[in-house]
Structures are given as structure tokens and as C-alpha cells.
Symmetry: C2
Subunit: 347 residues, 2 copies
């Protein structure tokens, strides 16, 4: 980035000036009593409970500044955290963001990050607010988001609620984010594995652009969470670590077999498969953040929910004697292999 | 650390096994409906509101693994985050922790971190629970904590509530944490500025041990928060960035002059001064996490609150015409200089 008289580095600007430019860009939220600026925020919880989830995005492990813009990172922080709130059957009300970046980062980067947060909230979770945060410095950028939701008197939809004879469904595509990441790795870094920003931009504008966008700035079915809870979803989670691993989590928590059908998974992965991606991307690739849910047999969800196609992936079956909870694909055991943060390669 | 058959690295153990050993060490909390293990936790909020604060501790900027043990880091994460909840006049109910460390870290380090969290909660905020978290990897360790509190029908105590004629008070000592940090910098690193663990341990056992402990594993007056709110505190915050800077925050938010008296500050800093520390450590050093608060004139707090001495530091005065809100020490302007994350040296 070019130096500009009105775009100092964070070191030059200091925290007070950085906050003066950052905070006004953030949405206040519908149920915020006290927003940023004191020791803590105060958020209304009419339900008498609040839902809370936390996640950290780390430069290297989770993103590269050569591929993601600061706006992308703000957008993705919202998209991937609020979907965890939605997967409980709750409406996202608010979030806090702790951001640590190099002191040489420009204030305009902070502003772009704030715009990403604001744009994502406007697009996917209107009414949600950014109620607090923390700024710090780190040699590798660190984004820690904690998000909150209101169950609005619903029972939370847990992973443990899947019942034998339920059908297994998915709202949102599978395999696109992993396909986008594969393209970035193969076509947007140089021989020394350094990200090439121009190549990433070309990819994003090209034939695989939707896959790259699904990786860098995903659109997740956040508002579908409460709709599915009201429809009677018995279990729900977002597919963050790959279908096989996340379905295995439901199977284990519920004590059942999740019997997936290849035809259903292929339908949910149609866009990625049409790009030439292997089914592997849908089964074991992560970061799609589609909602995986179970519904009692006979309950038919809409074919599309808040812009995301809904596909039937299979059904919930009873375990045989001595069978461990797990996942099958066309009746063959499916290995619960997916994203493990401690075993992943650094991006 | 030595390799041990039952102490694999996180890379060897994987996330599932690491969580199996980490989670049982954490306190559940008194008002937790759904704890760790699903997409999100559910926490009861009988008051119909919840208090939330977030803070990140980063290796390099905020701590060094050569000086802090993993137990220290868990302890400090609790001590420094829950005091922000307390400073609103709320009782801490719960927190979530996102922890990113090198994949070569041993599972026993995770366990020590969990014990630090649990021990600190038992000592300073009994009843509080660790309700969720996130594990990841990073070349530099990153600890992001978000903490929650219950106002129990109180109005939140803000920075903006100080009124002219109020007295200014402090619960807890000033200057110790900065003194401890100074000793660590001068006596517990080698010529290349690499931390020397054995030297830090010797310091901690020596004459300045309480200062070093105040830096590495502080005991903060968390349960004093609700007591002071009930006593009628008009403004309150914790002294995290130094008295001068934090008092200036109250002055600005309240539109007043905070007139500190040297004798009061010296009394609050007595332990650090007795170790030979300059008053500068109390005025501009950070990380003491004492509670700075204002009370209407005539309201006398106890001389000691939950093990922390209480000192009168001065009073709240009206601004003269054209005077900007600020802080004075014995009537001379006091520069609002203290900790600024973007301008600090890396530790």
C-alpha cells in the first residue's frame, strides 16, 4: 500500500486515533445497551439466556494476507462465527472482535476490516451489532471473534438430537471452499510458497471465481438457523471441518449411524463437481459452513432457504449390536477425516 | 520439556485427544445450560442482559513463554478479563477461551493452562465457568478470552459517571506489575534479549517476588466489583494501562478534572515504592488491574476489600472555562501517558 498523509500506520496513529476511525464503521446492533468504549459492553438478552461461540482466525494457519483482503477477513469473521450461533437455532445479536496486527499496518486496513464486518452483517445477519473489541499487535495477524445469539424462547438445537428414522439434510453447497483453496494453492503462490495477490485476483474473476470466493469471503445461511429450528430440526451444526467429520460428530453425540447417500452428497456438491472437483472436496474438505441438520421423516424443508439450496443427504439409522456411532456413504463406512488444527499444514 | 509416553505433542495427539484431556479440568459454572462441545454454549442471563468483554494475550507483545508458565497464562487470562466484568459492577458468570499454540506444544502444557484457569476462578471468581473455546495453531502463542457477567439488576457502572465533588479511590496496589516487568527485563534475559527461565524463577522467589508475581500471575479484586457498585460507585474501571491514562479516560468520559494527590497515590503504591520503584511505575506503568472508582463525598469504603487495600487518591473537580477534561497530580497537569499497544516495544 502507498503511504498517504491521511493513512498513517497504526504505530504512527496510536490506539486512540485508530479507534476514532474504526468504531464509527461498525453497526451498533438492535439489542445493545452499552457498546464499545467502556470496560465491557452490555447486551440485552430478553430470553433470559444467551448463546455464545468463539473462533480465532490466524494468519498462516487460517488465512494469508496475499490472498485475503482486509475486507474479506472482516466478512469471513462474521460469516463463519454467526453460522455457529445459527446452528444452535438462535438469532445472532452481537459479536466482539479482538484484532492484533503488525504496528506497520495502515489505519485504512483497519477501516476495510470494519467495512467487511459491517457489510457481512448487513447481508447475512441484519440487526446484529459489533459491541466491543480489543486492539493489539502481533507479527502474524490474529482475529478472534466471539459471537452471541438469542434463542427467542426456542430450545437449543444440539448435535445430540438426531433420532433414528430422521432424514439428514444440508442447506448450502459442499466442496466449494476446499476447491477454492486448492486453486489458490496450485495457482496463486510462487515457487517459494509466497502468495501472489494478482494471481488470486485473477482466479477470483475467472471460471472458478465462486469457489475462490467461497473460501475467502463465504456467504453462509445464517438466517436459516432459526427457520430450521422452527421447522423442527432435531440436530444441527455447520459443516466447518468437512461433511464426514462433522456428520460423525452428530453420529457420536446422538449415538446413531448417519447413512449418507452418494446421490444426495453429489447434489449438494454439484457446483464444485461441475468445476472438476473430486467428491473428496465435499466429503473431507472444510470451511463450507453449510448447515447440516436432521428432520423427522416426513417433514419436508423448502428446496431453497435464504438463497441456499437444500438437499437431502441421507437418513439416521439405528446402530447394530456393538457398532460404534459413525457415518456411512452408500452403506460403506466413511472415515471421519477432515480438518484437525493440530495436524493441518500451515497455509 | 521431556518427551513422555503419556505426554504427546498436540500434533501427535490431535484435537480430539487434546480436548479429552483439557475439557474435564475446566469449571462448569453456576449458570451454564450448555457447555463446551456443540457449535456454541448457552448461558443463563436471569437479569435479561449480559456484560461482555474481550481481550487477547499475545506471545511477544504481552507475554514470553520463558517467563510465564502455562499455568500463569491461564491464571492471568482469568485475572485480567474478569476484572473488566467486575469494573462494570457485574458478577462474572462465564468465559470462553480461544488458544492457539505451536503444534509441537505438549498436551501437558494445555492441561497446565486449564489448571491456571480453574485455580484463578476458584480463587477470584468462584461460580464462574469456562463454557466454550477454540483450539488452533500459531507460531506465536495466542490467548483470546471473552468474559461474561451478570449485573443482577444493577445499573452498569460506567466511566462516564464521575461527578464533581466525588472522591477518587483505588482498590488494589499500583506500580507492582510494572516493577515486576522492569526486573524481568533487566535481570531475566540474556544479551540477545532471550528470556532466561531460571533467572525469572529466582526473581520470583526473591525480594521482588511479589512484583514479579503481580506481573505474571496477578491477583485482582474481582469480587469487589459488585460490592463497590452496591456501595454507590459512580464510575469505575480497572487500571490496566497505568493510573494517569486510565484516570484520563474517566475524566474525558465524565467531562471532569480528576485531581490526584501524591500522598494518596504513594499510599496505593507503597509496596512498589518500598522496593525502590519510582512513582512513575504507579502513574504510567500498566497491568496492575486495581479498581479505580469514584464515590460521592462522604461515602467511606472499607479500608480493605476482598484482601485488597483501599486508598483515597483524590477527588473529582469541575473544569474551568475552556479547560479540557484531564488529570492533575497535586494540581499540576499529569500527562495521560501509558500503555498503547501500537506504540509499545515488543516484550
Amino acid at each position: 500500500m502507498d503511504a498517504a498523509p491521511n493513512d498513517p500506520t497504526l504505530h504512527e496513529a496510536g490506539e486512540l486515533e485508530a479507534l476514532r476511525r474504526f468504531l464509527p464503521l461498525l453497526p451498533a446492533g438492535d439489542v445493545t445497551d452499552i457498546g464499545p468504549g467502556d470496560d465491557a459492553a452490555v447486551v440485552r438478552a430478553a430470553d433470559g439466556r444467551f448463546v455464545v461461540t468463539t473462533d480465532t482466525m490466524l494468519e498462516g494457519a487460517d488465512f494469508r494476507l496475499g490472498w485475503s483482503s482486509w475486507r474479506d477477513l472482516g466478512w469471513k469473521a462474521v460469516a463463519t462465527n454467526l453460522i455457529d450461533v445459527a446452528a444452535m437455532g438462535a438469532r445472532p445479536t452481537s459479536l466482539v472482535v479482538a484484532l492484533a496486527v503488525a504496528p506497520s499496518t495502515r489505519v485504512s486496513a483497519l477501516e476495510a476490516f470494519a467495512r467487511g464486518l459491517a457489510d457481512a452483517i448487513a447481508a447475512m445477519a441484519p440487526g446484529c451489532g459489533v459491541v466491543g473489541g480489543d486492539l493489539g499487535t502481533a507479527p502474524h495477524a490474529t482475529i478472534a471473534v466471539t459471537a452471541f445469539g438469542d434463542l427467542e424462547a426456542r430450545a437449543p438445537v444440539l448435535r445430540s438430537g438426531a433420532r433414528v428414522t430422521d432424514a439428514v439434510w444440508c442447506a448450502g453447497g459442499l466442496g466449494l471452499a476446499a476447491t477454492g483453496l486448492r486453486h489458490l494453492f496450485s495457482q496463486a503462490q510462487d515457487e517459494a510458497a509466497v502468495p501472489v495477490a494478482a494471481a488470486a485476483e485473477r482466479l477470483r474473476a475467472g471460471a472458478h471465481g465462486r469457489a475462490v470466493a467461497a473460501q475467502l469471503a463465504p456467504v453462509t445461511p445464517i438466517t436459516a438457523g432459526t427457520l430450521l429450528a422452527d421447522l423442527g430440526a432435531t440436530a444441527m451444526l455447520d459443516v466447518s471441518d468437512g461433511l464426514a467429520l462433522d456428520a460423525a460428530r452428530v453420529a457420536r453425540a446422538s449415538g446413531v449411524r448417519i447413512a449418507l447417500e452418494r446421490s444426495g452428497v453429489e447434489a449438494a456438491a454439484a457446483e464444485a463437481l461441475a468445476m472438476g472437483a473430486p467428491l473428496e472436496a465435499a466429503l473431507h474438505g472444510g470451511e463450507d459452513h453449510a448447515l447440516l441438520f436432521t428432520l423427522p421423516a416426513g417433514v419436508q424443508p423448502p428446496a431453497e432457504l435464504v438463497g441456499h439450496a437444500v438437499h437431502r443427504l441421507g437418513r439416521v439409522e439405528a446402530l447394530a449390536d456393538d457398532e460404534q456411532p459413525g457415518v456411512t456413504l452408500d452403506a460403506a463406512p466413511l472415515e471421519p477425516r477432515g480438518w484437525d488444527p493440530y495436524r493441518a499444514v500451515q497455509r
